[in-house]
């Protein structure tokens, strides 16, 4: 994967202190970036003429319960003109927040709201950070690993007269 190596070389050359770890699996490049450097890294990826990652395909998170930091925020970016992809990851702990990349790609707005809604990860400087899929008065963040799959007690004949108990 020559093109991906050159992406990495440019990135490391420009901002060597931001890259924590690099891995490749099935031809896909994953770069773990320092949490506080995510916005400059994304801006560099977008603005560098050789890289020009102009399209944010996806932004999501993974809950690694039991690990420190607990969450990975995952960015999938694509360059339409150069036809290459990159995956950026940032480790975020429960009490930490990560800078919003809406200043780089406006499309991150709703994706970050969804991550906030589903994982409870806070994004700094987001223009409108609030729940997007769940109701506003919902408690908890459904895609966290410690959120139960079914919250309400299932009603059977032996408990049909009891009000449903919410765990």
């Amino acid at each position: 994967m020559e093109s991906e190596n050159s992406i990495l070389a440019r990135l490391k050359n420009k901002i060597p202190q931001s890259v924590v770890e690099v891995s490749e699996f099935r031809g896909e490049l994953t770069v773990v970036v320092k949490r506080e450097h995510i916005v400059p890294v994304c801006a560099f990826l977008r603005d560098d003429p050789e890289l020009s990652f102009d399209f944010l395909s996806d932004l999501t998170a993974v809950d690694r319960l039991g690990r420190k930091p607990r969450f990975d925020v995952v960015y999938h970016s694509y360059s339409i003109s150069r036809n290459h992809r990159i995956r950026l990851k940032v480790g975020v702990d429960e009490d930490q927040s990560v800078e919003s990349v809406t200043s780089v790609w406006s499309g991150a707005n709703w994706f970050e709201r969804e991550v906030f809604d589903m994982f409870g990860i806070n994004f700094e400087n987001h223009p409108d950070l609030k729940r997007i899929l769940m109701p506003d008065d919902w408690e908890g963040h459904p895609l966290r690993k410690d959120f139960p799959l079914t919250r309400e007690e299932v009603m059977f004949t032996h408990n049909k007269n009891r009000p449903p108990k919410i765990e």
Partner: protein, 400 residues
């Protein structure tokens, strides 16, 4: 969002009024709610509110084995089921590092192109109905019925097909499949001509669509908009060409683009895409290779039924595979395909167990809908209906 939250929406104008469009408005295609701030009939601010159809599909996927996830993918974009199947399966196959045999690949291409036509037919029918051309939906659904019959012939289901499986197809193509596809490929181009005769030069249609809901190429890319909307804005990007999957590189087809990025150009792009899909279908039909319909990877794909009935080892394999599933290597993959509405991507994280640790769906409509305020602000209320129709949203996919 409840009523209190709606009240929190800050008005930007002085003599403006806030109204709700939806969630039960017929032109919002499901349960989309748009909070509109109007100055007279001009939209000052539009705030889409989604989540009414949220069913926690991503959470459910984490609790199913890899094969059990396939039916869930059908239920997101319920008018383009096979495209969703394919995107998920290609991601799983990438994770497992296996490939479907040539026959399965060609059938996958053929059926996903028919799915694209299916999705566009639903779109053209409902979009035209929204704008007052009531007869269109009857014609579009007449053709769609032919496609659903074909899907039923293959899989036994009209909509929730789950016909594609890990490593290939669920079963071999049925008898009479080719004749049926050929009939579709022969008759459909004439039908598309009929639609165009009804709409393309229709004065009312032009008044309602030309110059409405414009978005520039730069804005569309910045907002993550993909698919026909991006192409209507002039960007020639199609994942089938830029990163071919399932053997798309062997097919000859064009990518239609627009210039103005308005509702009318999106209509033209989609109609042309249907014609191009028919081109691909014809090529695929002429080149269905012989051979097996599924890659016989032991431990991942079910053994053939004859063996299960005659060989105890095959029976054990089948039992273990159905009950426990398989365990892919630890890793993470992202695979995206060009769905009818844009880039459908699946991001799968495997922890080496028989269930995916995390499945993330990149829904094209989600990003496309987030561009709605950009398209309607400053325009008339009636244009909102035209623009929502032109985005071609499916709320089942947006809310998941």
């Amino acid at each position: 969002m409840n009523t209190e939250a709606a009240a929190k929406i800050q008005k930007v104008g002085k003599n403006t009024v806030l109204i709700n469009m939806g969630p039960q408005h017929p032109s919002t295609h499901g349960v989309l709610r748009v909070i509109l701030e109007l100055d007279g009939e001009t939209v000052v601010k539009a705030t889409p509110d989604i989540g009414f159809l949220h069913t926690g599909i991503e959470k459910t996927m984490e609790n199913k084995t890899y094969a059990q996830v396939i039916p869930l993918t059908d239920r997101m974009d319920y008018v383009a089921n096979l495209s969703n199947n394919l995107a998920y399966l290609l991601a799983v196959e990438k994770l497992l590092d296996i490939q479907a045999p040539p026959k399965a690949q060609v059938i996958r291409v053929l059926l996903t192109e028919l799915t694209r036509i299916n999705s566009h037919l639903v779109w053209v029918g409902s979009h035209a109905m929204d704008l007052g051309a009531q007869s269109m939906i009857m014609y579009a659904f007449r053709e769609r019925e032919k496609l659903l019959d074909l899907f039923e012939l293959c899989s036994g289901q009209r909509m929730m097909t789950s016909y594609f499986r890990i490593g290939g197809l669920a079963q071999d193509i049925p008898e009479g499949f080719e004749a049926k596809v050929r009939e579709i490929a022969e008759t459909f181009p004439d039908r598309f001509d009929d639609y165009e005769r009804l709409l393309t030069k229709n004065r009312i249609w032009l008044n309602r669509t030309v110059g409405v809901g414009k978005i520039s190429t730069e804005d569309a890319i910045d907002l993550g908009v993909s698919g026909p909307i991006l192409r209507a804005s002039g960007m020639k990007w199609d994942i089938r060409k830029s990163n071919p999957y399932s053997g798309y590189e062997k097919f000859d087809f064009d990518i239609p683009t627009g210039e103005n990025g308005d509702v009318y150009d999106r209509y033209l792009v989609r109609v042309e895409e249907m014609r191009q899909s028919i081109r691909i279908v014809k090529q695929a039909l002429d080149g269905i290779p012989a051979g097996d319909y599924v890659a016989r990877v032991p431990g991942v794909v079910l053994p053939p039924k004859e063996e299960v009935m005659s060989n105890i080892e095959a029976l054990i394999f089948q039992f273990k595979l159905v009950v426990e599933g398989f365990t892919p290597p630890v890793g993470e993959v992202y695979h995206s395909i060009e769905g009818p509405k844009g880039e459908i991507g699946y991001y799968i994280v495997s922890d080496g167990s028989n269930k995916p640790y995390r499945v993330r769906v990149r829904p094209p409509c989600f990003a496309n809908l987030s561009a709605l305020p950009k398209m309607v602000e400053g325009r008339l209320l009636a244009d909102v209906v035209a623009v929502i129709g032109s985005i071609d949203i499916v709320l089942g996919e947006i809310d998941r």
